[in-house]
Point group: C2
Chain length 231, copies 2
């Protein structure tokens, strides 16, 4: 998963492109490396380019005047970010920061858009993928506005578990993954202490366990049911 072509080849967003077009994109992509914590672009940036992660993880985040950070997502190898490419002129809403040392391929907006124009059969997939991101965003909004902290955290945990569970197995198999309370707090727009209290409450129901930097969902199916009963 490290050279340009294989990364571009497996990126879901570009799945619809024919081989030769992917090759051309690969040739025009810019290879960039970032150290942990380095800013790839800040919120509000006006550039129009698509980034695909070749190595490491990237944090999509923003912060307010008071210095509080909000993390929208932490993306892994193979994921893309910078969907504003499709609306040139719009500033980026969230910024992107290297969550750890990482390597990113950057495709200029004009290059990408031209490639798609020349290979229109790739549009349906791209449209589908962007539309799915919109779907996810709407789910987040719904959760934020409609649900209490416990339901929100529960749902987020289930979502993260799903992300980590590429293996496809689902249901009542325990899922364990690395996640600090601090990170989760930033994802939820809460404080570390607030998250802690909620987490302890969910643990008391026997639905999760948590250790240093790690959360384990004992029975995802049951957690899901529990969460659905909350408002």
């Amino acid at each position: 998963m490290n050279d340009v072509l294989s990364v571009i080849e497996t990126c879901p967003l570009l799945e619809g492109l024919p081989g030769p077009a992917k090759l051309t994109l690969a040739e025009q992509a810019r290879n960039r490396a970032y150290g942990a914590g380095e800013i790839i672009y800040p919120p509000g940036a006006l550039q129009s380019s698509l980034c695909i992660i070749a190595h490491g993880r990237v944090r999509i985040c923003a912060s307010n005047i008071a210095g509080r950070e909000a993390i929208l997502a932490i993306l892994d190898v193979g994921a893309w970010f910078g969907d504003t490419v499709f609306s040139p002129g719009m500033p980026r809403v969230f910024g992107a920061t290297a969550h750890e040392d990482c390597q990113v391929f950057e495709i200029q907006g004009e290059v990408l858009r031209a490639t798609l124009r020349d290979n229109p059969e790739a549009y349906p997939v791209a449209l589908d993928q962007v539309s799915r991101r919109l779907w996810s965003a709407m789910s987040v909004i719904q959760d934020d506005v409609l649900r209490g902290t416990e339901a929100r955290i529960g749902r987020r945990l289930l979502f993260l578990a799903q992300m980590h569970n590429h293996s496809g197995q689902d249901g009542n198999v325990a899922v364990s993954f690395a996640l600090t309370r601090e990170l989760l707090a930033n994802m939820m727009g809460m404080t570390r202490q607030g998250v802690h209290r909620v987490l302890k409450n969910i643990e008391a129901q026997g639905l999760i366990e948590f250790a240093y930097g790690r959360v384990t969902i004992s029975d995802p199916e049951r957690l899901s049911q529990y969460v659905d009963r909350l408002d």
Copy 2:
């Protein structure tokens, strides 16, 4: 703005389609009328179709077990909803309800997708529009997670003012529009009383005035500056 063709012709999402394709779509569109409060589709619905408003206004909303309603947006004539058409199989996140008596043209997902495939020059515009919706959704998320109620409400008021201000004039001209506190509360995921307190506070700064079912932004430019200084 009432017959099928003119509605489809002016819908931003379909702007890229050539005339004849629009005509074909118009012929295949289903004309539906809804009484105020009637459900067009509920949250979670699995159907895949695109709706364009020909008359009246539509509320995009969801509600939790406790009965609280969250309003994502209230769309006006000419607007479209149901972006999940581009990701068939995904359930709708929010539902759609007739906010007042209204008339809606519904285009089946398969029809729309086939039309786009046959007229690929329309894709860039569609992709741009969906991407803009994603942009808006991300802005909402950022506001929800990062900002306090006062900043959130201020920003939302400015956004609503912009919606109502097709005239293009901007800056320090007062903008007035119909909006009940109750509606605003549902939009913000707050209570009527909570909104009231915040609104009174903003009013105390001389930035807005409000009357029965109506809000007036005295000086949008100044409100914008005020809001930006808050976290």
